[in-house]
Amino acid sequence: MKTNLTYNPFSGLLAEDINAVLVPRFNMEALISKIKQPEELLTIEFLGKQGRGKTTHLRSVHQQLKEFPIVFLNAKSSASEVLNHTKEILFIDSIHHLKIKERLQLFKQKKTIVYTTHYTRKWECLIAKKKIYSFQFNGIEPETLQLILNKRLLLATPEGLECENLFSVKDSTVLIKKFKDNYRAIINHLYETYQ
């Protein structure tokens, strides 16, 4: 690891650090107020391929609404993990691990669901009579990537020290050329460089 850093800046983020490095893709304030005071039954989906920042955005929004549960689903998860929650608002990562019948039940049962998905669930929301807001996660600008990478570097820099070797737009352009918009692949590549 680089000697002037307290830890590898490209390791997985702690929940408490997410908001310090996130460059939001949308107006977070507006979204949070929409979740808090829904005019109608709604679902909010973060849509995109893996490694594009959906889960990070979900965790970030949840950081500001901690009173509501967040569930990280995987292949071994059961539907009861989400259906048994009594709260009206629920955050779900990887909703595709639920069967379509379970998703429909969930959409009908809860007032607001914020979830990540690879494919849009608009038809299911239509059946469940839920309004859907979909946020696409694709593409990344060199300036945005530069900002994210430098925020991570600054966070791992010991107190009182200047952060050396900040990323330039040229650096982030090279990374995007190599890894396209796969943000996690970029971070994993840099993790190896800094470890």
Partner: protein, 332 residues
């Protein structure tokens, strides 16, 4: 009004066999100020190519009702006892374990307006509404005074899948496929993959049956540990060697897919098994490096395994068995 600027250091001096960590914290204020309390919050952090974790370990009180006079350095000694099962600091290929200490300075309400909010540290100091200033210091916890200690086990070895045999079956399948079915056909490909898996499994079972059982017993020794190998008469490999390795396994479950990174972080010398009839005993030394004991924490596993290697009709066969190594308990 002149604003108060702080300078601070957090130094670990020693770690005793009983996990007692001692050191001191220095603090210097540019103006006289009164602190209601100075507290240290110790955290364990696991960061890597995975969902990173941070856990509160303990809280220490460094000072209470402390007047910090202008440009006077205060040295605040501390000593705390980390839990016996604390994981040592470690920097591996895909994960690092470390400890951090948040120093929280609770400023007296009457002095809170005199604090320079940006100069304590450029990035991370936080002045909360409770008149508290927080800074974070990282430190390593390495207990070099406690040697490794193997857990004594007696278990059978497992035969690892032979890559050469797998490759042979894949090549045979590839040749038959390209000869009889030159076009791409998903169904046949899937059936072929299942067949290859089945053949590899059957051949493994056949070799296991032909060679018979082989077991490992680990025994403690002062400077290292013994591996005692038991075998049946029909177990007969040529050029048998024995060694152990330490493996780091990190599961990355971030986002919607899961992947596991496996890295060998240490491999011992390979020792030949000569005159191996029913049993053979080999002594191994522990690695010089500290902090490599067995760990099982959330998505991270560091484990040790003994590998028995040898040739069977020209094929290199590998048998392995996991075992546990910890640090010796100070009370023993």
């Amino acid at each position: 009004m002149t604003k108060t600027i702080f300078t601070q250091e957090f130094i670990i001096e020693s770690v005793s066999t009983a996990n007692v960590v001692s050191g001191y914290c220095t603090i210097l204020a540019s103006e006289t100020i009164h602190a209601d309390g100075i507290t240290g919050m110790i955290y364990f952090e696991a960061r890597g190519r995975m969902t990173s974790q941070k856990e509160h370990v303990l809280t220490i009180e460094l000072a209470h009702d402390q007047a910090l006079h202008k440009k006077e350095t205060y040295t605040l000694p501390f000593s705390f006892d980390l839990p016996a099962d604390s994981i040592e600091s470690y920097s591996g290929k895909n994960v690092s374990f470390s400890y951090s200490c948040d120093i929280i300075l609770a400023i007296n309400e009457n002095d809170s307006s005199t604090i320079e909010r940006s100069a304590f540290t450029k990035i991370k100091a936080v002045v909360s509404s409770k008149n508290e200033i927080k800074t974070t210091h990282y430190f390593n916890f390495e207990n070099k005074n406690r040697p490794y200690e193997v857990f004594e086990i007696k278990e059978k070895f497992y035969l690892q899948t032979n890559l050469f045999i797998s490759l042979i079956f894949i090549l045979i399948f590839g040749a038959i496929y390209s000869y009889y079915i030159p076009d791409f056909n998903t169904l046949y490909i899937v059936l072929g993959v299942i067949l290859v898996f089945l053949l590899v499994f059957v051949s493994n079972q056949f070799i296991k049956g032909a060679l018979g059982k082989v077991s490992l017993e680990t025994l403690q020794n002062d400077d290292g540990f013994y591996c005692k190998i038991y075998k049946t008469k029909k177990f007969n490999l040529s050029n048998q060697t024995l060694y152990y390795e330490i493996i780091e396994e990190v599961t990355d479950s971030r986002g919607s897919s899961t992947s596991t990174a496996i890295e060998t972080i240490f491999t011992s010398h390979k020792k030949p098994l000569t005159d191996f009839r029913d049993t053979s005993t080999i002594q191994f030394n522990y690695p010089q490096e500290s902090g490599l004991q067995s760990v099982n924490y959330k998505d991270v596993s560091i484990f040790w395994r003994v590998v028995l290697e040898g040739n069977y009709y020209g094929n290199k066969m590998k048998y392995s068995r996991k075992f546990k190594v910890d640090k010796r308990n100070p009370s023993v």
